[in-house]
């Protein structure tokens, strides 16, 4: 399926979890490098230069967030976090430290693979290319700032467009509320989450077939939003 044989670094201390992930990822055609600890993982990331890293947050030697920080010092490789903790806080900490997305344990493999594909797509994305979003019920051309729905033009305000672009830059991946607010309204509004509630509703009303049950503009409660296209 993936002709390029992307390589994935798996930083996880539980051998049983490594075992089934290795089997699954290998079956999907990925090359897998395994690290059982945070220290090892940070070194392996530098020596193997994988296309994507999967980092467990509960490592024995040091916190997964620390691994993410160390990788981010020198690399922009996509990083997926495995989090056993239900609490939103640890996910947000990891995302703020530079992780691109997370999967909460226990997870089904389909979900993880979808995140990996989104991460790898993001890693090779050329800036400016393919800025047309094909949604179920609408099409948005971000470059030409034009949206249509059922043949008719839909007017998107400048803020709506910026918000949609911010989500589209990380298509398939979660974008934290803080990130969105900073990118769209500026750092002084990083805590004004009610802006997001209002504008996400507007976007859904304009672009989603069923705005209450959105297919594309998904909420990650307490964490942020995710633009899902295809998959």
């Amino acid at each position: 399926m993936t002709g390029a044989r992307s390589s994935i670094l798996l930083v996880e201390d539980e051998p049983e979890i490594r075992r089934f992930l290795r089997a699954t990822l290998a079956a999907e055609g990925y090359r897998v490098v395994e690290s059982p600890s945070g220290r090892r993982g940070s070194i392996d990331a530098a020596t193997h230069k994988p296309d994507l890293a999967i980092v467990d947050l509960g490592l024995p030697d040091f916190d997964g967030v620390e691994v993410i920080r160390r990788i981010r010092e020198w690399s922009a490789m996509p990083i997926l976090v495995l989090s056993a903790r239900v609490h939103e806080r640890s996910k947000i900490d990891a995302l703020d430290a530079g992780a691109d997305d997370y999967v909460t344990k226990p997870f089904a493999v389909g979900e993880l693979l979808a995140r990996i594909r989104a991460g790898l797509r993001h890693g090779v994305r050329r800036p400016g290319g393919g800025a047309v979003l094909e949604l179920e019920d609408a099409t948005v051309d971000l470059d030409r700032r034009k949206a249509t729905r059922g043949g008719a033009e839909v007017h998107l305000t400048p803020i709506e467009l910026r918000l949609l672009s911010a989500l589209a830059r990380h298509a398939g991946m979660v974008v934290t509320q803080r990130q969105l607010l900073t990118e769209v309204w500026g750092p002084t509004h990083a805590a004004d989450t009610h802006y997001l509630r209002i504008y996400m509703k507007q976007l859904r009303d304009k672009l989603e077939k069923d705005p209450i049950r959105p297919r594309h503009l998904r909420t990650e409660t307490g964490v942020g939003y995710r633009l899902v296209i295809g998959d």
């Binding site: 806080r89 226990p106 007017h155 400048p158 009610h194 802006y195 509630r197 209002i198 998904r218 307490g222």
Partner: protein
């Protein structure tokens, strides 16, 4: 209260003495001194019953002084003509000591008893928890062990379809179990008070949408109807927790009512709160059970429909943590409504977007 305000007892002593004196002065014209002394006895008894020994003795001493000064001849002095009044004084002080000692004893015992009861309650919860865990986890574990050992030991003898079905049932049971465990953990967190609310402006419609997405598979058996007005204001809540409270209600509706029936998710705006309702039209409960089902490990109908009986308890704990109410009521025409409230706060302002350049 007594411990926090030790001086309160003494204040009450003064009040009691003043009250007795007032009554005594009013009685003086028509009653014997003995009866007036009885009024003071009553004052001492009351204070001794309600307060510690210190205020009780203070009351007795003040009563003696007041009685002596105002009523015992010669009036207006503390001297006593008749020695028998000295006995009256001694008895007043003795009463104060005896009664305050007795009530102190009773209070200590009540405290010990309350502690014991608390311990018994904790023990009961622990026992129910263990029983529930062993019952609710044993079945999925049995299925998982059986199905996975079949796959591991004789998988090659099975048809591909059978293998897939076994794997699917392991997955389903594992999911069920993981939800059980998550609920037990959540309940523990809610009860120990270790959970800190992370309040933030949230849209109840958005939360409802996330719940519907998350439970899509489980709700597929029912007809879900939505009634959420466009203009519901934002609420300041811990969205992840409220999502869970609502999810528990929806899940319950799907689990405990017959397939094909309607489940209606409704949001209404009241004066200073919003009311979120999950109404089912296929369930029934005796009136007496409407409150009981919110207790931990209580199920509406015995066991058969599964679930651990924690969903509603968690829902209520979350709602209460937010200062709201959660309850169930019967709907006219059959069915049960589960409702909870969330307080409204003055909505924050969102600056209007400057008139867009796209005037066309």
């Amino acid at each position: 209260m007594e411990r926090r305000y030790p001086w309160a007892g003494f204040a009450w002593a003064a009040v009691a003495v003043a009250a007795c004196t007032g009554v005594g002065l009013a009685m003086r014209a028509r009653f014997d001194l003995v009866n007036i002394a009885m009024v003071y006895v009553l004052g001492v008894v009351v204070v001794a019953l309600r307060h510690a020994r210190g205020p009780a003795i203070a009351t007795a001493v003040l009563c003696v002084l007041a009685f002596d000064f105002l009523f015992v001849p010669p009036r207006g002095t503390l001297t006593v003509d008749d020695a028998q009044y000295l006995l009256t004084f001694a008895i007043l002080v003795a009463i104060a000591l005896v009664i305050s000692h007795l009530t102190g004893d009773v209070r200590r015992r009540a405290r010990a008893l309350a502690a014991l009861e608390m311990e018994a309650e904790t023990e009961r919860i622990r026992a129910t928890l263990l029983a529930s865990i062993s019952h609710d986890l044993r079945t999925p574990l049995a299925v998982m062990t059986g199905a996975s050992s079949t796959l591991a030991e004789r998988g090659e003898k099975l048809a591909a379809g059978e293998r897939a079905a076994l794997a699917k049932s392991i997955l389903d049971q594992a999911r069920e179990m993981s939800e059980h465990v998550a609920k037990v953990l959540q309940m523990t967190r809610l009860e120990t008070g270790s959970l800190v609310l992370e309040r933030d402006w949230a849209s109840i419609a958005e939360i409802a949408g996330t719940v519907l997405g998350r439970l899509a598979e489980r709700l597929a058996t029912h007809r879900v109807m939505l009634e959420i007005p466009e203009d519901v204001p934002l609420v300041r809540v811990d969205a992840a927790l409220v999502e869970q409270a609502l999810a528990n209600l929806m899940e319950n509706a799907a689990r405990h009512t017959p397939p094909g029936t309607v489940v209606r998710l409704r949001v209404e705006r009241a004066a200073d709160e919003i009311i979120v309702s999950v109404e089912n039209f296929g369930g029934d409960l005796p009136r007496a059970d409407l409150e009981r089902i919110f207790a931990k490990f209580e199920r509406g109908v015995a066991e058969s429909s599964g679930g651990m009986g924690l969903g509603l308890a968690i829902c209520r704990a979350i709602v209460r943590l937010h200062g709201g109410r959660a309850w169930a009521e019967r709907i006219a025409g059959g069915g049960i409504a589960f409702r909870f409230t969330l307080a409204l706060e003055p909505a924050p302002l969102v600056p209007a977007e400057p008139a867009s350049a796209e005037a066309r």
